[in-house]
Amino acid sequence: MQNLLGGLLMIAIAVIAVVQGSALSIGSLRHIGPGMVPMTLAAFLGLIGVVLILSWWRGRERVGTGRWPLRGPVFILGAAVVFGLTVRPLGLSVAGPLLVVIAAFASAETRWKEIIIFSVCMMLFCLGLFRYALTLPIPVAPWLIGY
């Protein structure tokens, strides 16, 4: 299964790259255009995809693909996405705890009281470290203090 899905994925990536890059000029060897390298790479990727599918077809591979639980990806990546969307408008003071709390949904071991206290402590620690010690221009609380 690994090889079938992997092969299909590679072919899909190759097709996406070719479609996206269809407008780019290939150029000539004397003057390589913007499209030549991406298109060549896509062609090879597609080829590898075909070979992977063939090797699955010939049935030499018995490796399964394991479990695909959704809980982890949804909440971990979701937490990062929410952080990305809120850090500018709301600042680290809100986006930080939000990330920790959303990410906590990903784990079955979460203790809620602990995680809420932890989220606030981490936010304060990060503010001190990134904003004040390293003076990175990360928004703190634009809605309250303007930056």
Binding site: A17, S25, I32, V37, A104, E109
Partner: protein
Amino acid sequence: MDALIANLSHGFSVAVSLSNLGLCFVGVVIGTLVGILPGVGPIATIAMLLPLTFNFDPTGALIMLAGIYYGAQYGGSTTAILINIPGEATSVVTVLDGHQMARQGRAGVALGTAALVSFFAGTVSTIVVAALGVPLTKLALLFGPAEYFSLMVMGLSFAVVLAQGSLLKAAAMILLGILLSTIGTDIETGEERLTFGFAELADGIDFVVLAMGFFGFAEILHNLENPETRDVVKGKIGRLLPNLQDIRMSIAPMLRGTGLGALLGILPGNGAVLGPFASYATEKKLSRTPERFGKGAIEGVAGPEAANNAGAQTAFIPLLTLGIPPNAVMALMVGAMTIHGIIPGPQVMTKSPDLFWGMIASMWIGNAFLLIINLPLIGIWVRLLHVPYRLMFSAILLFCSIGIYSINNDPSDVLLTALFGLIGYVFIKLGFEPAPALLGFVLGKLMEEKLRQALIISRGDFMTFVDNPVSAVLLLISVVVIILAVVPAIRKTKEEALSMS
């Protein structure tokens, strides 16, 4: 020789002044700190601290900024070993065996080895910079676009050796890495390539975004699903420092790694990133037990870490003697020097000997500081692994997200990292390894650029890569490396086929 000793002792007399010692110490401490924080790199830090250095004299300012740079290399290894996140291109290789060692309860040994070999490599390469800096500049000038292209090809051939599973899948990941590196604005026409219409992608994908996605986020997902693997880390503490046998196994890789790293670091155009990869490939090839690599082989930490640190020091050679920054951090050092009225280039050595030799001497002092700071810290780091994972993963996620945001102060980078986290997660499930993709990504951009330059300069003649000796030798090495890796794999497949039928 006498001149060298005189110059170095002059350098030391500058570097050991109380204020310069203090600045060096502050620099390496900050460097270690930002190196450990995933995502926050030396570039953002040096940029932020530049205004502070206005009030220092230029030598002190540059000693401190240089300290941040090589201090971050030390710190980066810590993160790579402890939580499997390569903060920089040069620590991708450290992740492979370093983190496996940590999982086996040998985090302390891995960290200790990294610190000791880094100190050794730092000492040797400081002497290299002082003694051979000027003659070695000629080597940098030997490398035109054609030679660079061939060097990158050689680097990619190492990636095949890096692979632990299927060679075909490794090849796919290398190609994918190069493909990802072509995203962004075309260098010649200014057209946007493969950006899906997103303005945020016009400047390409940042290395940290890809590395955090493929390693950091994907690793968290993996650990949440497989509590048993992370419990191994929690179970044992193990020794905190390498024992005699560890040291004996590390010596030869360390020497070779130092040599490779120092040599590649001199090349302008970020040759230093190749050092750890070259060292890893060499050690795996030379080893009588290559199957241990990727499963916690100490040689796979010692060699690349030495190469990494040696390269970080010798990367100062093109900056100090040619005035050409080989990477983004060095470009920032150029800025730091110009702010202080020193225009980097061949004139620095004669016009400002205090600065030139003082900075070189400070590098050795800084490396000594780093060893003194880092060895006692190992105990603390190892204990950090015992923070319950239910709290640890959200803290890692928060640090990563803040770090990614601060690369360009751009929230869309965080979203992009999440996307790569998802892709990396799927890849791992399907048996694709992320490390070759990162190598392809790092080398891909430069490879395409140099290919195009070389062909424009040769007016389309491919013989330019073979006609010139340096390039021809590099290509030959790549071919040999690939044959050595592929032939046994094919033989193995045939044997399996025979035994099955």
